[in-house]
């Protein structure tokens, strides 16, 4: 697709109009996952395992079924048992053997909160009572929570059929290591031999949850003819359709999925939990069934991201040139394989131009909920370690940490450590913006420190459709397939208005259901504005072509003699004839007479998503008496390629940063010795509150992605990568102690301060 002329003045792209769904969302009118009620609807609830690891000996549901008001009870036996193999599902590879067991346990429960049975009843209250009447006999097994314990030779093995992939020869015994991956560039031994200094560190990160405020919710309506409708909050309703059809054993086209408004996802709503259960209950009860998770269920039973052990070793010359970089990542995947250790290994060293790299990753199962994607999955974990070591190199050789990054930074033509050469990228531009920021001049006081970190994320494209229907009054309806989590409808409308030359208010965007638009991959991987934007532009250009044809026919001149400019068809030159330009609305008004409805469609597999880089700087103060870290000031620079709606780019950055602050300082899954989650609520799973953080200064730099018509790069993910390292580097600067474990919670920081026997500041 041709790129828009960079020098052309744009009317909408780059401006900040009000979002089209704004009024609905400030008046309470917007319908989220739990907001739909259907006539004759039942309420479903899930019985969950109290054990971290146990065989299910038997389940007796008869008493629950006998309770008045109960209409259906299901167990694993009500859903097909699928083979354990990786098959393509949309664009992702899915092991349905694992997925069918994750949505409802079969032979074993594998984590505290694992679904065991579900009930549909006429009220939530009755459904809850019914759960208590289900008798499950468990044979409790030893469990394993920690990743190092899980790979120990005598660890309890979760899956007897799992042999480590990616090692030759194939292991003789099953283990909890699902897979090993390795990425290499050059020869690290040569690189380390050339180094003047070598730094080697172990890091630990804890499991963190996306913490979206809206719990998972859905309404399923299975009719007697085998067709079903599903309403749910998801990042990808086409993906949900594919998963559920397979899990239910039904044909894909018999299931229509409608995406509700979605109250946050951050990767966590890319998979299914309640949806197949609600469909199965509805199928059994022959009535609509609504299911909504409690917050506790969200924490116990939906995918957070991995906690991990990270080992990083880097060598550099005294002049700052990094000569070798090596890391080993052990990611816990939860109960089923599929941690993001592979992208973690791929992006670990991506911000740098390096000759010698080796990154190894291990995917390790443990008795925790299976991880799901969380913003730049894997990146924040590996880059936390790498950016900490880069900081330490700068300290050791006495070089400014930004200068060190600039010296080694990736640029166009650099071969990325994961293989390909970069096109135009903004790695250094983000650092320049930090250098030029006012923040750089801010003096620091006692117990304060400043930290810097860079971040990289790949970004993706993928299957995408968009549809534009023109109305005879000159307004258009824009149908999209990527659920709008953060204001993406505004961006698509703006690109369409820009192309068509109409007012953005005249574009009404909506998320179409799975029967009304072609397959569109989910909102994730920072792809929505990129891919749906590309499809929307293509659909708009198709409208323009049709309008030029209509104008040509109207004027009875050749198509080539009609040009499109500023929302009008005009004769290309005076040779073409003297005609009054026809506006978009003019052509729309007469469309019935000139050939019928005007519809622009695009169906494409978006390619060439450009990576996005970020550079962050943070000032912290450490309370020497309590170990508490306060964030004083934060500047985050993001390469957006081009910011279609700068406010929402800033919003992505600010939100990502604050999630990163939570990850860095307080958020973690805490397990008891019995393998149960101890902090399954917002009281003790401590996401940052409003008074915890300062304003987040989001600065946008624009190094356009040549592949996108407006130069867009995804911005949803890279903002969460640098905060943990930037904060760790700042805390280290404030205390002269290197912090390598997340979260840097007060007890950990105070302990480190005590151990370093720093003189305590006067109380």
């Amino acid at each position: 697709m041709t790129t828009n002329d960079e020098n052309k003045t744009l009317k909408w792209v780059g401006s900040r109009p009000n979002r089209p769904d704004g009024v609905d969302k400030v008046t309470g009118r917007a319908k989220f996952g739990a907001d739909l009620t259907l006539p004759n609807m039942l309420h479903g609830r899930v019985l969950r395992s109290p054990h971290a690891h146990a065989h299910i000996v038997s389940i007796d549901t008869s008493k629950a079924e006998a309770l008045p008001g109960v209409h259906a009870v299901i167990t694993g036996a009500d859903l097909p048992l699928l083979a354990s193999e990786f098959v393509p599902a949309g664009e992702a590879m899915v092991n349905y053997g694992d997925m069918c067991r994750n949505v409802i346990a079969r032979e074993k429960v594998l984590y505290d909160g694992h679904a065991v049975a579900a009930v549909a009843a006429k009220s939530v209250q009755i459904a809850k009572q019914a759960l208590k009447l289900i008798e499950v006999e468990y044979d409790v097994l030893p469990h394993v929570i920690d990743v190092d314990e899980a790979i120990a030779p005598d660890a309890p093995v979760l899956h007897d059929h799992m042999f480590t992939a990616g090692v030759e020869p194939k292991p003789e015994k099953p283990s909890n290591i699902a897979k090993r991956v390795e990425f290499k560039l050059g020869d690290i031994e040569v690189g380390f031999a050339a180094a003047d200094i070598i730094i080697e560190r172990d890091f630990n990160t804890e499991t963190v949850h996306q913490g979206y405020i809206e719990p998972h919710a859905c309404v399923a309506n299975f009719s007697e003819d085998g067709q079903a409708e599903l309403w749910c909050c998801t990042q990808g309703h086409f993906v949900v359709r594919g998963y559920c059809a397979r899990l239910l054993g039904m044909e894909v086209s018999k299931l229509r999925v409608t995406a509700s408004e979605i109250g946050g996802g951050f990767g966590g709503k890319t998979v299914v939990y309640l949806e197949p259960l609600a469909l199965a209950l509805s199928r059994k009860a022959n009535r609509p069934v609504k299911m909504v998770m409690s917050r506790e269920e969200v924490f116990r039973a939906t995918g957070p991201t991995s906690g991990a052990k990270v080992w990083v070793k880097m060598g550099a010359k005294k002049d700052g040139t990094i000569t070798a970089a090596q890391c080993e990542l052990k990611f816990q995947a939860g109960a089923f394989q599929g941690s993001p250790m592979q992208p973690g290994a791929m992006c670990a060293f991506a911000p740098y131009d390096l000759e010698n790299v080796k990154a190894v990753g291990y995917d390790v199962v443990t008795n925790r909920p299976k991880v799901a994607a969380y913003r730049a999955p894997g990146g924040p974990i590996s880059e936390f370690g790498v950016e900490s070591v880069v900081d330490e190199i700068a300290l050791l050789i006495g070089m400014d940490p930004i200068e060190l990054r600039l010296l080694n930074g990736a640029q166009e033509g650099t071969q990325a450590a994961y293989g390909p050469r970069f096109g135009p990228i903004g790695m250094k531009e983000t650092l320049f913006a930090l250098q030029n920021s006012e923040h750089m001049q801010q003096p620091l006081g006692p117990n304060q420190g400043r930290g810097i970190a860079s971040g990289f994320w790949f970004n993706i494209g993928g299957d995408t459709c968009a549809n534009i229907n023109v109305s005879d009054d000159g307004t258009v309806a824009l149908a999209l397939g990527t659920p709008d989590i953060g204001g993406s409808r505004a961006s698509m409308s703006m690109m369409v208005a820009e192309e068509l030359g109409i007012d953005v208010k005249d574009v009404r965007p909506m998320i179409a259901d799975t029967a009304s638009l072609g397959y569109t991959f989910l909102t994730g991987g920072s792809r929505a504005t990129y891919s749906s934007g590309m499809a929307s532009v293509q659909a708009a250009r198709s409208i323009i072509e049709q309008m030029r044809e209509r104008a040509a026919k109207t004027w009875d001149i050749p198509l080539e003699a009609v040009e499109w400019e500023d929302g009008h068809a005009r004769p290309a030159s005076s040779n073409a004839g003297e005609f009054e330009p026809l506006s978009f609305a003019d052509i729309a008004r007469t469309m019935a007479k000139t050939g019928g409805p005007l519809v622009g469609s695009a169906a494409l597999n978006a390619q060439g998503a450009g990576p996005s880089f970020a550079a962050h700087m943070v000032d912290v103060e450490v309370d020497p008496g309590t170990g508490r870290v306060e964030i004083l000031r934060y500047t985050a620079v993001q390469d957006a390629g081009r910011a279609v709606h700068p406010s929402y780019v800033e919003g992505q950055v600010q939100g990502g940063v604050v999630q990163g602050i939570g990850w860095a300082l307080n958020e973690e899954y805490v397990y008891g010795d019995d393998g149960t989650l101890q902090n399954a609520g917002f009281l003790d799973y401590r996401v940052p509150v409003c008074s915890d953080v300062p304003m987040i200064d989001a600065k946008i730099v624009e190094v356009p992605n040549p592949r996108h018509p407006y130069g867009v790069r995804g911005v949803g993910e890279s903002p969460i990568i640098p905060p943990m390292a930037a904060i760790a580097n700042a805390v280290s600067a404030a205390t002269n102690i290197r912090f390598t474990e997340l979260p840097m919670s007060p007890p950990k920081v105070l302990k480190a301060l005590d151990e370093a026997a720093l003189p305590e500041a006067a109380e």
């Binding site: 990786f86 393509p88 664009e91 992702a92 590879m93 990616g166 030759e168 090993r180 991956v181 390795e182 990425f183 290499k184 996306q210 996802g265 951050f266 990767g267 966590g268 890319t270 993001p340 592979q342 992208p343 791929m346 994607a373 969380y374 913003r375 730049a376 999955p377 994961y418 293989g419 390909p420 050469r421 970069f422 096109g423 994320w457 790949f458 970004n459 993706i460 494209g461 993928g462 299957d463 994730g524 991987g525 920072s526 792809r527 597999n605 390619q607 060439g608 998503a609 592949r707 995804g714 949803g716 993910e717």
Partner: protein, 83 residues
């Protein structure tokens, strides 16, 4: 047909006897894959699952017919997801 300089990253070289670099004449991504499979049949199933291909640094996922310019660097790497 254009000449492609092919690089395998990640675990793929486990199925090519450790070889990571190839030169193939191929029109498009599919053509490169066919050549690779002709030399190393074991790699075939791994080209079906979760793969991305970069052509001169630009990343393509799940697509066969992207043309390959003369002398292009073609990198096979694991596909990327995201949150």
């Amino acid at each position: 047909m254009p000449l492609a300089n092919v690089l395998l990253t990640g675990n793929l070289s486990q199925f090519t006897g450790g070889q990571t670099q190839f030169q193939f004449d191929a029109r498009d991504i599919r053509g490169v894959m066919k050549e690779l499979v002709r030399l190393h049949p074991d790699v075939a199933p791994h080209l079906e699952e979760g793969l991305a291909v970069a052509i001169n640094g630009e990343i393509f996922q799940d697509t066969w017919f992207e043309p390959i310019p003369e002398g292009a660097e073609v990198t096979f790497m694991p596909a990327i997801g995201g949150g």
